[in-house]
């Protein structure tokens, strides 16, 4: 019988207890991994933001627009490599609840500013040549089970045409995707000119501009220069990095980070207490046995290692099952939630953090019992009733 077998045997000497502990450790790691994946999906906009990409918004609020002419003026600012603009379309398909995240953009510059978006079907020439062509992200295409080349009526809940109609017919000329799975592609773009020429009101206005500087070091300077251009005009601007804007938007929902920390903290505090006290009790029950092992010549460090390995093994067992369940769960729901949480999946980072936590948790819960076992006095222990 080698040490590993001995550890395994002592862990499962009380099967019910071991299974219950595994179950309870499993729940904490299930919660940790699932919430971790959700948090990552929510933050993907911040994490995939390019360091040299800036957004210029109306200074009062990003829902307000600015004149179309601003686009050309920003293009002249020193340090701006490429600039594009976008306008919120507020689209839906047939029914208002079939929300379609959609923007009216200038296609050519848009794909320049977002080089991570790669066409996978259709060609750029057709897209640029035809006014009623739209570019659609792979995730959105799949969500509505549309086919490339299909014509769809896109209704806006904001904009209308002079005749009162709110429908723009578009053809899905180009499908794009991104190599990085974390870059969301759950939206579509239609041509700004096509949208603007039939607007009943708010014509020749754009929602916001996105630009690249090529060098994060000059971001601040370029941002200041742009905003200075429009000071004291009816539409003053505010330029910030893409990441800062994404972060501020997330904060609008509430302090999600704090809520996640509290929940995960509560889950771990629960199992720490349960597993911790049970381990102490389990080793106490074996005091006599430990004394016998010592008599047989097991050194105190070896006994210490045994107990610690036992608790780490227990933690890994429960934790890995929890991690596995979380992975299955995420695969199950990622399709249904692709619209709200694009890129919801288990990542190597989460797995790494979870495994590190498992080992740490095993060490923490095993430390006290291991010290107790190591210090067991043969004479008193064997004399114990």
């Amino acid at each position: 019988m080698n040490d590993a077998t001995l550890i395994r045997k002592s862990l499962f000497r009380n099967k019910t207890r071991a299974i219950l502990l595994v179950l309870s450790i499993m729940t904490a790691f299930l919660i940790f991994s699932v919430l971790g994946a959700f948090s990552r999906a929510l933050n993907s906009g911040v994490e995939t933001a390019a360091a040299d990409r800036l957004v210029t918004l109306n200074a009062i609020n990003f829902t307000l627009t600015m004149p179309y002419a601003y686009w050309g003026r920003v293009d002249q600012v020193e340090g701006v490599q490429a600039v594009t603009h976008a306008s919120w379309f507020g689209g839906y398909y047939q029914e208002p609840r079939n929300f379609v995240q959609s923007f009216a953009v200038d296609m050519e510059s848009y794909f320049q500013v977002y080089p991570e978006l790669v066409p996978i079907e259709g060609d750029m020439e057709t897209l640029l040549a035809r006014n009623d062509c739209a570019a659609i992200g792979q995730d959105l295409l799949q969500q509505y089970e549309w086919t490339p080349g299909q014509r769809i009526p896109l209704t806006s809940n904001i904009w209308s045409k002079p005749d009162g109609s709110r429908v723009w017919d578009v053809e899905l000329c180009l499908v794009f995707d991104a190599e990085d799975q974390d870059v969301p592609t759950n939206y579509m773009m239609l041509q700004y000119d096509y949208y603007n020429e039939s607007l009943a009101f708010n014509r020749d206005q754009i929602g916001w501009m996105i630009l690249t500087t090529g060098d994060p070091a000059i971001n601040d300077q370029v941002g200041r220069d742009i905003d200075a251009l429009f000071t004291n005009s009816p539409a003053e601007t505010e330029t910030s990095t893409e990441a800062a804007f994404g972060q501020a938007f997330l904060e609008q929902l509430g302090n999600i980070g704090l809520i996640l920390t509290l929940v995960i903290g509560a889950a771990f505090a629960t199992i720490l207490m349960i597993v911790g006290t049970t381990m102490v009790m389990a080793i106490n029950e074996r005091t006599k046995e430990v004394a016998v092992m010592k008599t047989l010549g097991f050194s105190p460090p070896r006994i210490f290692t045994h107990v610690l390995s036992e608790s780490v093994l227990l933690s890994l067992l429960g934790g890995l099952i929890g991690l596995g369940l979380a992975a299955l769960l995420l695969v199950g729901v990622s399709g249904a939630l692709a619209g709200q949480f694009p890129g919801l999946r288990m990542t190597p980072t989460i797995i790494g953090q979870a495994v590190a936590l498992m080992i740490l948790f095993g060490l923490v819960t095993g430390l006290l019992p291991a010290i107790n076992a190591m210090r067991t006095n043969i004479v008193t222990a064997l004399g114990k009733d």
Binding site: S24, L30, Q252, I271, M273, I274
Partner: protein
């Protein structure tokens, strides 16, 4: 039999201190589960209470058809005139309809909790606006003067956001405004808004002649149907008309449902973890008393009292945990102010509300954990063989 049950139960409960470590772990873990559940429920209920409490039955809201939210809506001057002529709208002392055509612009405020920018609604209103909000009072300063660049601010905005304090000068784009008053509507959605003169906002935002919503006081809630028929029959109007209560109720659902859908599964998964803890503690309790139970059997006690004793011990620990969790959540979370993005794409300030129903759900969840955790150990207790008395 009852005497036996009572005696064994007392032995069980009195022996808890001997296993205080595991018992305490069970109590605290159940408390944490209940705490997480109630925290989420308090958030969902608080948000819902704020939004649901905002609408009146006798106020009609007019939006452009299909726009769903004030932000997306737009109405011309002609539409407002036609609405004024509609049936069932209450008149004031001078005989004019009690009606408010309002413009709704989103501006940035700084969230106190994070220091980041957040969407706040700036509502351009006319003189009738405050009469159309139940319980509207100025709690500081005065109302803005018509045609001026003055703002009044809801008390929720003051609580959660920087930059709109009383007397402060606010720069929105290239225009400067002064905060001259703070109002309250008793915790409704409007407390999260900033109000100014509708004409001034129309001019500054180049929206002369257009508004986004019209609110009108109805002579009675039943008058709504007549007004809806009038709008449907009038070809020059393309509007959705709802009661204000309905308008808010439909926008509250989403956010509070999401919070509920997060809270319950999390609590149930955590409860499974705590259940394992309770189970373990009860097995330990039964194992520790094996000899004692066997002795009781030997002197004529049946197995049933042992079963009940263990169940009561488990339920007791869980109930203490449940009450502890509920009490702590109530003390920590009830009334805590927070804000999130609401249906109108702007921040809604609300207070966490730990409701009696939620407290009951929490304690019930705790008792389920206690009952399930005690059941199998209790069966083991009932089946202890008499021979074990010799141990």
């Amino acid at each position: 039999m009852l005497k036996q049950i009572g005696a064994v139960t007392m032995i069980n409960l009195r022996s808890i201190p001997q296993r205080w470590g595991m018992s305490l772990a069970t109590v605290l873990s159940v408390a944490l589960v209940v705490g997480v559940l109630l925290g989420f429920l308090a958030m969902a209920n608080g948000f819902r209470a704020t939004v649901d409490g905002s609408g009146a039955d006798d106020v009609a809201v007019f939006l452009r058809a299909g726009s769903q939210a004030e932000l997306n809506s737009g109405l011309g001057r002609d539409s407002v005139r036609l609405i004024e002529a509609g049936p069932g709208i209450a008149a004031d002392a001078a005989g004019d309809p009690v009606l408010s055509a309002e413009l709704y612009v989103i501006v940035d405020g700084i969230k106190r909790s994070s220091g980041t920018e957040a969407n706040l609604p700036l509502r351009g209103v006319g003189p009738d606006a405050s009469a159309l909000r139940e319980g509207f009072t100025m709690i500081e300063g005065r109302m803005f003067a018509p045609g001026s660049s003055e703002l009044v601010v809801g008390e929720g905005v003051i609580r959660q956001f920087e930059g709109f304090d009383m007397g402060q000068t606010v720069r929105l784009g290239s225009n400067e405004w002064r905060v001259v008053g703070v109002f309250s509507t008793g915790g409704s959605v409007f407390d999260s808004e900033i109000w100014a003169d509708v004409g001034t906002i129309q001019n500054l935002y180049q929206r002369t002649g257009t508004v986004q919503s019209v609110r009108a006081r109805l002579t009675s809630p039943e008058a709504l149907a007549g007004l809806q028929a009038y709008v449907a029959d009038e070809p020059r109007l393309d509007l959705d008309v709802t009661s204000e209560r309905e308008f808010f109720a439909s926008s509250a659902g989403g956010t509070s449902d999401i919070i509920m859908f997060l809270g319950w599964p999390l609590a149930v998964i955590m409860a499974i973890g705590a259940l394992a803890g309770a189970w373990n503690a009860m097995y330990a309790s039964v194992d520790a008393r094996t000899r004692e139970i066997a002795t009781l059997r030997a002197i004529g006690f049946s197995g049933f009292p042992a079963f009940v004793g263990t169940m009561v011990e488990s339920l007791m620990l869980a109930a203490i945990g449940g009450l502890l969790g509920a009490g702590a959540t109530y003390l920590i979370f009830d009334g805590v102010s927070a804000s999130t993005l609401g249906g109108g794409f702007t921040q809604i300030v609300f207070s966490f509300a730990v409701t009696p129903t939620a407290l009951v759900s929490g304690v019930v969840l705790a008792l389920i954990v206690g009952a399930a955790g005690g059941f199998f150990p209790a069966i083991r207790a009932a089946r202890v063989p008499i021979l074990k008395a010799q141990g």
